[in-house]
Assembly symmetry: C2
Homo-oligomer: 117 residues x 2
DNA sequence: TAGTTGTTCTAGTAGTCGTAGAACAACTAG
DNA sequence: CTAGTTGTTCTACGACTACTAGAACAACTA
């Protein structure tokens, strides 16, 4: 797994890690059972604090994306369902939103509203 | 326009206002040229601080959703294009994501990624 | 048993969020 | 022109979050 962290972003560092793992699992780059780097190691290689990485892992655990166990690390849990429908829908939405001149912000607001209903 | 603010939410108050205006414009509830309440008035009726409302208005201005002018208030700017395609795509995505068991979080992460590409 | 790894604790700095009050400048309506 | 409206800008404060830092601890692995 490739990690790309932007310290200058307004998105919190831990949230960037969370998003990348989510995407990896959704796209199949990260497969169920696969192990994420130990928090200490990932923190060292990304020049972050261990607590920052652990916070990301804990968010992912609370969301059911990974399982955490001492001595074993973070393991991808979610048995990813078939996401071809989702990916197609995402692509269609992105195209339609772009045609309509909607910002990414407004688009995700619409999606959030639709999902919470 | 109906305003619903939840002070207990983890979403910042100003962000809640921003999202509601975005949705109003996208759905056609708020039409181009329509005027939003004066920041002082809206703050008073929602029991917020004027600065909190103004922050929301400024975010919306920076995004081109409204225009701000002293003495005239906040006016809806964006000439909303036809959004039927977008709404259909949003509904399809929400359904597909729900079938696949994706969280709203992960789904919006996918959308954000697709829009920024 | 020894090493690995997440968990928990305290602690400090920096920044954001929201509130608060005040003065100011551009615009509108009469 | 005048008076009122409304966004803009400034300073200030308390509460909270984000991140870093160091340390000890507990559960698991090999």
């Amino acid at each position: 797994m490739m990690w790309r962290i932007d310290p200058a972003s307004d998105e919190p560092l831990y949230a960037q890690l969370v998003a990348q793992v989510r995407l990896g699992v959704a796209h199949g780059t990260l497969r169920p059972g696969e192990r994420l780097p130990a928090a200490r190691d990932l923190a060292a290689s990304l020049e972050l604090n261990m607590h920052t990485v652990l916070r990301a892992y804990q968010v992912l655990r609370d969301d059911g994306v990974v399982e955490l166990r001492r001595g074993r690390g973070a393991v991808v849990a979610a048995a990813a369902a078939d996401l071809s429908d989702v990916e197609r829908a995402v692509a269609e939405l992105a195209a339609a939103a772009r045609r309509a001149g909607l910002s990414a912000q407004t688009t995700t607001t619409l999606v959030t509203e639709a999902m919470h209903r």
